[in-house]
């Protein structure tokens, strides 16, 4: 009885995945297509929210440049637990077509390991939807987010904040 009751909460969590649309690269266009009438991810309950404070998972849409990395980490830091990471596009894995660029971070999975990664440049909406359904399964199983246990994002964020103390003072930027 108790397990069934607890299972209900797992069910609720898995069927209401809200995301913060972190549009940092070109793959966000395919996320836009996914919101559109043809693919319509709202059928499964996915919903983009404006503020990271209400989000369940963050979508890294491809490219993470050196300049945007601290912002990404802060956004992730602001999200309430349990929080997950969903990454799409080759850039979010190893830099993709910009593998030799100096201003693109090529080891995003080491810093913020995604729970689900969808390959492609850019991946098709069908592939992204498949990945999102995988994400639902992970949430359902109450798996701990990979970013929480193996990522090095905390140290890097700390370094960034030390470099820029003004940023740390901005209340909107600092999570709990």
């Amino acid at each position: 009885m108790l397990t069934k009751f607890l299972d209900f909460f797992g069910w609720a969590r898995s069927h209401s995945p809200w995301m913060v649309h972190y549009c940092s690269g070109c793959c966000s266009l395919e996320i836009l297509a996914l919101m559109g009438p043809r693919f319509d991810w709202e059928r499964y309950g996915f919903l983009p929210v404006p503020s990271p404070r209400q989000a369940d998972f963050i979508v890294i849409t491809g490219l993470i440049s050196r300049k945007v990395l601290p912002v990404l980490l802060m956004t992730y830091d602001q999200m309430p637990r349990p929080r997950y990471v969903f990454a799409i596009g080759a850039c979010a894995f190893d830099g993709g077509p910009y593998y030799d660029s100096t201003s693109v971070v090529t080891n995003v999975p080491e810093i913020l390991p995604p729970d689900v990664f969808v390959a492609g440049c850019p991946p098709t909406p069908e592939a992204i939807l498949d990945g999102l359904l995988e994400m639902k399964k992970i949430i359902r199983e109450r798996r701990e987010a990979r970013a929480e246990k193996e990522g090095t994002w905390r140290e890097i964020l700390k370094k960034e904040l030390e470099k820029n103390p003004l940023l740390a003072k901005q209340p909107f930027f600092v999570g709990g």
Binding site: K67, D100, S101, N107
Partner: protein, 154 residues
């Protein structure tokens, strides 16, 4: 009309001839090779003679070929449909040139970008501060040939 006058004035003031620049796929273009110290006077002359549209500033690093930095300014006369390329060369160590941001405000952002990427010091520019690149790449002059990009890892 404006261009003919410009050609004459350029000849009398700076002693430079208008060369054909056939490389522009777009339209008829002329090239003036000038000294870097004259850039402000030339810009003023261009503006007076109807070249009111600033297109872009394109520096090229010729250091592996034994030359310095080459700066190409692209201007267009909207009425006459004529383009003018102003070309000048700077030494690679400590390149300096006057800013033309007050004559062509469009050049402000372009100069700022090229300062960041090539290390060209535009004298008199109001805000030569980081624009596109992050702190780790500042001062490395990423667009120069001497800089070899390496994949960034954090």
């Amino acid at each position: 009309m404006g261009f003919e006058r410009l050609k004459k004035l350029m000849k009398t003031y700076f002693g430079v001839e208008a060369q054909e620049y056939p490389q522009n796929a777009v339209t008829k273009t002329y090239l003036f090779q000038i000294q870097p110290v004259h850039i402000r006077e030339v810009a003023k002359l261009l503006k007076e003679n109807g070249f009111n549209f600033f297109h872009t500033l394109s520096p090229v690093d010729y250091s592996p070929k034994g030359r310095g930095l080459e700066l190409n300014y692209f201007f267009e006369s909207i009425e006459e449909k004529i383009w003018v390329v102003i070309r000048t060369e700077l030494p690679l160590d400590n390149p300096e040139i006057d800013s033309i941001h007050d004559i062509y405000p469009a050049a402000e952002a372009c100069e700022r970008e090229e300062w960041e990427k090539f290390g060209i010091n535009f004298k008199g520019h109001p805000r030569l501060k980081p624009l596109l690149l992050d702190d780790t790449l500042q001062g490395k002059w990423v667009q120069r040939k001497a800089y070899v990009p390496e994949p960034h890892r954090d």
